[in-house]
């Protein structure tokens, strides 16, 4: 309903002709018969494979970068929680690194890796790693001693203790870390692709800008929004709910 109202308002503004159609294209009903609409471009883009292919490229980069960030973040987080000296050194450094927007790394990435996939992966990973590190170290640090002591007297130690107690006990923190890291990764990849890398949704956005095709730009924004919502609902919310149900926490 709310979405319908937004669409209606958009259509009215578009039809009033205050702005040229290329700047403010209608969503569903074309201004002139057979003219462009965002909806038409979106459907066309999906069927022609243009948007679909770009989405595939972006998502695969995103997943790889995100995966690297999660692995690094969990490792750093564990080391920070486990060793005081790592906390004093790396822990402090991470706080500083976290405040640097990941796109700031881009010039460096281009020089190091060239303008391409690796550079994009680099900034996606680096954008998500630090927040994952901060969250997971908080999770590991806050594992109540009583769980660890109980497990130790029941014969657990070392990697078994890590796998069966420390990791599961940190899961609530880790999930919120994943969620924020995912959002950071999205921002990083869009910025990176916009600034230059073949393929991907960001590249398509840039194409839309240079050909003054706002219908394309808006289509892509819709795609990004839809993907974001689906991931959030289907993946992260589900994870949170299942943990909340098990632990008896409120969502």
């Amino acid at each position: 309903m709310f979405v319908a109202v937004i669409i209606a308002i958009w259509e009215v503004i578009s039809k009033l002709g205050i702005f040229p159609t290329f700047m403010f294209p209608p969503l569903i009903i074309p201004s002139v018969p057979g003219g462009v609409t965002v909806f038409k471009t979106l459907i066309g883009g999906i069927f022609s494979g243009q948007i679909l292919a770009a989405t595939g490229v972006t998502l695969s980069r995103l997943l790889i970068g995100f995966f690297i960030a999660v692995v690094l973040g969990l490792t750093f987080g564990f080391l920070i929680a486990r060793y005081k000296w790592v906390d004093d050194t790396l822990g402090f450094f991470v706080t500083a690194l976290q405040s640097i927007p990941s796109i700031v790394w881009f010039p460096l990435a281009i020089v190091w890796f060239g303008l391409g996939n690796t550079a994009i992966l680099f900034i996606v990973a680096i954008g998500a790693t630090w927040t994952m590190t901060v969250n997971s170290s908080a999770g590991f640090k806050n594992v109540p001693d009583i769980y660890i002591n109980a497990a130790r007297t029941l014969g657990s130690s070392g990697s078994h203790l890590l796998k069966t107690v420390i990791l599961p006990a940190s899961v609530p923190h880790i999930i919120s870390g994943l969620r924020v890291a995912w959002a950071f990764a999205w921002r990083a990849i869009m910025a990176g692709e916009l600034l230059g890398a073949a393929g991907g949704l960001g590249y398509l956005l840039d194409l839309g800008r240079s050909t003054q095709a706002m219908d394309l730009v808006l289509s892509i924004m819709i795609v990004i929004g839809v993907i974001g919502t689906i991931i959030d609902n289907q993946v992260f919310l589900r994870m949170e709910r299942s943990v909340a149900r098990k632990w008896g926490l409120r969502t």
């Binding site: 009583i146 007297t153 599961p168």
Partner: protein, 280 residues
């Protein structure tokens, strides 16, 4: 002798040159199959003693022996039942109980059978698929007891396991624990600040004094089991323990309130007197 502490001292580093002595020359033995309680005010180091025996902490000096062997770390021959909250919330009751068993490299089938026996003993067989948060406080502690007992430890260490429970539930669990103890013949060390609880459950109560913690006095409880807290023997002993404790409590209160504690006491008395005079 099942458990033996010899001249055990424990200090914690407080600041750079400041150490806090929590245990001073602790010396006691627990015989095979004996039920012994360590009782005393909070901060007397009774939980620290349990941690030393469990191997979760090590003494600054002295020796802790279990079965004649020096304690070097945690081991499944000494399992702890912690205060409420010791169960793993991400595991079901059944998974909690089988946790230690599976770690023992026993077959899954055997572990599951033992876990079922354990749960049957504490009457929670129907709750095996529940998560801890779905259970009441008393049920959680029963699961914790089952989780410890299935390990078949030489010594069962209990760290204020019933402290967070309501009186009703606690009385039920006292009866159940005594029954389990009589059936299994386990050696039990029970930590509590509740004197009546200690006297109801144990063969012997070690009363601790505080700062630094030391065993102040030992009481042997000779009353028929299953025990009734209103048994004249226990009531009599409770009075004697309380007298001993009063001294300790004063020490604790003085430390908590500083000099105010004494000031207030004398102040109350003097104002009482003046009131009496003015109303005549």
């Amino acid at each position: 002798m099942k458990v033996s502490l010899k001249k055990v001292n424990k200090s914690f580093q407080k600041g750079k040159d400041d150490t806090l002595k929590v245990l001073n020359d602790i010396d006691f033995n627990i015989e095979e199959g004996e039920f012994v309680s360590l009782a005393g005010p909070s901060g007397c180091g009774k939980s620290t003693i349990l941690k030393l025996i469990a191997g979760l902490d090590s003494p600054t000096s002295g020796e802790v022996l279990v079965n004649g062997n020096k304690v070097k770390g945690p081991g499944t021959d000494r399992v702890v039942v912690f205060q409420e909250g010791g169960l793993f919330p991400w595991m079901t009751v059944f998974e909690n109980v089988t946790y230690g068993l599976l770690r023992k490299k026993m077959s899954k089938k055997e572990a599951e059978e033992k876990a079922m026996d354990g749960l049957r003993m504490v009457h929670l067989i129907n709750f095996r698929e529940s998560y801890p948060h779905e259970l009441s406080g008393g049920m959680k502690q029963r699961v914790a007891i089952a989780r410890a007992l299935v390990m078949d430890p030489d010594v069962l260490l209990m760290d204020e396991p019933f402290a967070a429970l309501d009186e009703q539930t606690r009385l039920v669990l006292h009866r159940e624990l005594q029954k389990i103890w009589q059936e299994t013949g386990k050696t039990i060390l029970f930590i509590t600040h509740n004197i009546r609880e200690a006297l109801t459950l144990s063969d012997r109560v070690l009363l601790m004094s505080t700062r630094p913690g030391a065993v102040k006095k030992e009481f042997t409880v000779q009353a028929a089991r299953p025990r009734d807290p209103s048994d004249s023997n226990i009531v009599d002993l409770e009075r004697r323990v309380m007298e001993e404790l009063e001294e300790e409590m004063e020490k604790v209160l003085k430390e908590e309130f500083g000099n105010d504690y004494h000031l207030e006491k004398s102040h109350v008395r003097s104002s009482d007197h003046s009131d009496m005079g003015s109303h005549i």
